[in-house]
Amino acid sequence: MSPRPGFVLEVDRSTPPTLFWHGEGYRLERLPVGSRVLYAPEPVDALADPVSSIRHAVTHPLGDREPLPALLRPGMRLTIAFDDVSLPLPPMRRPDVRQLVIEQVLDMAADAGVDDVVLIAALALHRRMTDDELRHALGERVYDAFAPHGLLLQHDAEDPANLVHLGTTDQGEDVEINRRAAESDLLVYVNINLVAMDGGHKSVATGLSSYRSLRHHHNARTMQHSRSFMDQEHSELHSSNWRMGRLIAASGVKVFQIETTLNTDTFPEQFRFLQRREWEWTLRDRAAFVATSEALARTPAKLARGIFHSIRAPHRMSSVQAGEVEAVHAQTTANVYAQQLVEVDGQTDVLTMGLPYICPYNVNSIMNPILVACLGLGYFFNLYRGQPLVRQGGVLIMSHPTPWAFHPGHHPSYIDFFEQVLTETTDPVEVGKFEEAFATDPWYVHLYRTGNAYHGVHPFYMWYWCAHALAHLGAVIVVGGDRAAVRRLGFTPASTLADALEMARDVVGGEPTVTHLHAPPLALADVR
């Protein structure tokens, strides 16, 4: 039976309560009669033989690119860059897609007699991956073959000796990327396209670049003009990356892009109810919900976090395509849309969402308040094509505990951002006046380069990610969050969903339309 597409349910009196994620937990909430619930499509079929599909893709490239074996020769410098720990979400069961792809590329390189090969984690300004995370992404064989010899690198955007400035775009944007990648005879980029924002020229132009480059598109202005950044045709974020990518290509950097998509089979068997529609829950699903939610309610937050972050998603590769960047990415995007797109008829006054325990920047870490804001107002709000799910001046209600807690090793500059910047302003444009000081702070630079810390400027990017939503919305209400933390973010705390809906009426009027984004699994609203 083919997977069912996503759809929009209209809540009536017989509709069972709706599942809302709430950080390291979840709740069942009763939405008002007449509310809409947007459900993601069921997982599309996985590739039956991923390895064969990978080999087929690289030997039958898209666009103006020769098959990979034809690009490999003895004596050449080959660099393989790959997406970092921020993808996929949750981390997938072994073997990771990156391992499958890189093993094939390495086999072909070995067959061609290529022996100057370096792997680079394309971190941009993300934190360095731990050894365990690298082993998980690449597999033991690849890790053991490269890491001990210093051939498994993590991109260092603060190492001037290993960066090269390739020029400026016609818009004056600096393009500075990893020197090894730029000076290789061939750069193979291995991507995981979890959402429509990922991939394309963004892989190299962002993943292997420096603050000097990133500042041109990671800013409030760009994000306010990306509507949404999940829709490349209407995204200034992508326009800028595309300009940079084309300059990279024109500079002589030969990129062989390998992009993969995953299906939305997101949770393992014991949590399977999380991706089922509530009225289809079996007795076992209901029992699992009651048992896990009761247990989690009694579990200390740290332990609950550990439990959830140990989840390895069963999602599987649904497509793989390789070749020239733009041709590849057009096909990838179509495949992402095929999995995630859901048609929605019109906007809503109030958009509700339950935020889960994880976002791209807290894998094996704490979802701090800034990341809560980014996940809700950055990622989930922007899961649309056409127009936002919620109307201009509407209300966004997010459910999340929003703890006043930070991972000091991963997010040191977030703590300072929360203490110093957000106490002064929550305006995404105004916060920019602090950016330079954070971006060049030697302590943050040190922690980014030698520890596992996000770059000093990263919390600013998280806040810029919210810029479009903040300009669009009339109010943001957080249900069940730490009230002080929620207020620091500039949002309104509410104890219950009912309270939040009552508050929302003060903003949007007496009988608002309500739509709930039932994610994850991820869905992309095609709002007509």
């Binding site: 300072d416 203490e419 110093q420 702070d441 030697p442 302590w443």
Partner: protein, 419 residues
């Protein structure tokens, strides 16, 4: 006349210590060695002395430490029992002798309470007193007075917490200009401490200065720094919301909760961190708390070869001084006042303090006034001042008038009801 007397009574001292340790600072007053009693007027100890009737008398952190039993044993031989506490005093001259007759009865004065060589009739005066630095007097336990580092800790002089008044040497009295209210005047003594600390801290133009604590001493120190020095940036750690508001008003550029101060200093100095210690840091740190934690924090956030000034009264502290040694940090105390070297020549600290009080309208720091009969409430309020949104709690010894709801001071209604 009614006054509060602190007696040497070991069981009551122990009880006060226990209660205050369990219930909070100032809570031990009911069981401690402080008693409301009929107090005799102190005798004028000699010529050049005056009798002063207190109008307002503040409750200082050092008073609370004494009442709570938290004071260092260092002070045991430089106080004399029984004594009437109260060294932050604005009052009115009642009578004088010798040179003090120049202060006519009715003259409003603030008391500079340190009992130096002049007051003790020590001739010749010690080197510090000869230079006007009475805070550094070497004879505070000697001379013709009983031991006592200040009025308010000496059995012979009385103190501010008594309607019976106190006696002070003419050199200890400073006439209050009419432009200063009683509330402003009672802040002159703590402000003088702050002035002395600020001027002695070696703040160079453009320096970054961190101030730990935002009680009366912390706030007046920020005001004094702003008024008398040219710091580049003043960063303050303040525990409570009202303290943070006032610290900003006093002139601090960055005000954060105490646990965020080190991070704020780090950001400002763009320092690295190692072993929980900033590698750079503030040029000067003024510790206006005086606890082991605050001193450790000060040492962790001062730059190498920087200066830490202990402004708050410390006791016996256990602090790792390895960073002080390794980073060649200067640690200095700042006690009391006397005469300051200024670009315009030597000036009495109290004269400068009056300017700071006026310029920064420090009378607003007086949060509540209590009659001495309600001393238990007053001390509990003072012990929890920050938490209760208050700064300075004072005793109001002005004559009272009868109203339908009770007695109130003739000039101002009491505000001591849960401010």
């Amino acid at each position: 006349m009614r006054g509060l007397v602190f007696e040497r009574n070991v069981p009551r001292f122990a009880a006060s210590r226990l209660v205050s340790s369990l219930g909070g600072s100032g809570r031990g007053a009911a069981v401690g060695p402080l008693r409301l009693s009929d107090v005799e007027q102190p005798e004028l100890p000699g010529p050049d002395w005056a009798r002063v009737r207190p109008v307002l008398a503040g409750i200082c952190g050092s008073d609370l430490a004494t009442l709570d039993g938290r004071s260092s044993r260092y002070f045991e031989e430089i106080v004399s029992f029984p004594f009437v506490p109260g060294h932050e005093v604005v009052g009115v001259v009642e009578e004088g002798s010798g040179a003090a007759v120049e202060l006519a009865p009715g003259t409003r004065v603030v008391v500079e309470p340190v009992l130096g060589c002049l007051a003790r009739r020590v001739v010749p005066p010690c080197a510090a007193c000869a230079e006007g630095r009475v805070g550094g007097c070497e004879r505070i336990a000697f001379g013709h007075l009983a031991p006592g580092l200040q009025i308010g800790f000496c059995t012979d002089t009385g103190g501010g917490w008594s309607a019976a008044g106190l006696v002070a040497h003419v050199s200890q009295l400073h006439a209050v200009p009419d432009t200063l209210s009683d509330e402003e005047a009672v802040l002159v003594e703590p402000t003088a401490c702050a002035v002395h600390a600020a001027l002695g801290a070696g703040v160079e133009p453009g320096d970054s200065v961190a101030v730990i604590g935002a009680g009366t001493l912390g706030l007046t120190t920020i005001a004094a720094l702003r008024h008398l020095t040219q710091p580049g940036t003043v960063l303050a750690g303040a525990k409570h919301t009202e303290q943070r508001r006032l610290a900003e008003e006093m002139g601090a550029d960055v005000v954060v909760p105490p646990d965020q101060l080190a991070r704020a200093v780090r950001r400002h100095a763009r320092s690295l961190v190692t072993s929980g210690q900033l590698t750079g840091g503030a040029d000067v740190v003024l510790d206006c708390v005086g606890s082991a934690d605050s001193l450790a924090q000060a040492l962790s956030m001062v730059r190498p070869r920087g200066r830490v000034v202990l402004v708050g009264m410390p006791g016996t502290l256990r602090v790792d001084l390895a960073p002080l040694w390794h980073r060649e940090v200067q640690l200095a105390g700042a006690y009391a006042y006397g005469t300051e070297r200024t670009p315009s020549g030597p000036r009495r600290t109290f004269a400068i303090a009056m300017e700071v009080v006026a310029a920064h309208r420090l009378g607003r720091l007086v949060s509540a006034r209590y009659p001495i009969e309600r001393f238990e409430e007053a001390l509990a309020h003072a012990g929890a001042a920050g938490r209760r949104g208050a700064t300075k709690i004072v005793f109001d010894l002005r004559p009272t008038r009868t109203t339908r709801t009770g007695t109130v001071p003739s000039s101002t209604a009491p505000k001591g009801n849960g401010a």
